[in-house]
């Protein structure tokens, strides 16, 4: 019936994760909110509809999803970890002024030549500067 819920379920099972209600909820949230939310944001938004949801479960689930490579952990902001369910190649940009985190699509991710013997499992690139809107308001 619900196409999204099916995709969520499949994606979890594909990575060997049992699709419990809570895990489905967190995963669905990430797939439908491309806002790079923090654990706190996810919890706050899910809580009204799942009043017995625990913050620990949100953290447990996010950690599991990251470990299994289902979602990306973004450390572009020192304070909070942020999460992204989009695994297509893209990088992140954070505006120094308004704090917005934007996706920037790239054809493929840049992985420089590594010293021999080193194997790379994943790489992340992020940029920091001023977004178009904040730039236009800036005094020079």
């Amino acid at each position: 019936m619900d196409a999204i819920k099916n995709m969520v379920k499949e994606r979890l099972e594909l990575h060997g994760i049992k699709p419990s209600m809570q895990r489905m909820a967190v995963m669905e949230y990430l797939m439908t909110h491309r806002t790079h939310p923090t654990a706190e944001m996810i919890f706050a938004d899910l809580y009204p509809e799942m009043p017995t949801l625990s913050k620990a479960t949100v953290y447990n689930t996010l950690n599991l999803l990251v470990e299994r490579g289902v979602v990306r952990l973004i450390t572009i902001e020192e304070k909070n970890a942020r999460f992204d369910a989009c695994m297509d190649p893209h990088i992140h940009f954070r505006c120094r002024q308004c704090g917005a985190i934007l996706d920037v699509n790239v054809e493929a991710h840049w992985i420089p030549a590594m010293p021999s013997g080193v194997s790379v499992e994943m790489s992340e690139t992020y940029c920091i500067g001023y977004c178009a809107e904040c730039n236009s308001k800036r005094v020079n």
Copy 2:
């Protein structure tokens, strides 16, 4: 006399930072320890020789150095901020097993095309995987 202390002093003054004892100590530490230390590590190592040093000062100094673009803040590890006084283009690699953080030199840093209006002040790339040593010990 002390060539390093002079470099440290110059580098601070070049960025408009008054070279106090404490700031010199932190900056010298970063320039002579290419280990991407945490604030805690810097404090712990400096403390024996500067018993009145405060952790707050180490944090204040590191924040100032990062703001002024004298050192790089590295967020490759979720738990702690790490710092790097080397501003030459290079990226960081973290070994998932032993936790070592290595520099990987690159000719120039990769900055993908940004949406129009966006200005980029800095960018960071990091990779995570297994270092040569840990790789050789891994079971397949």
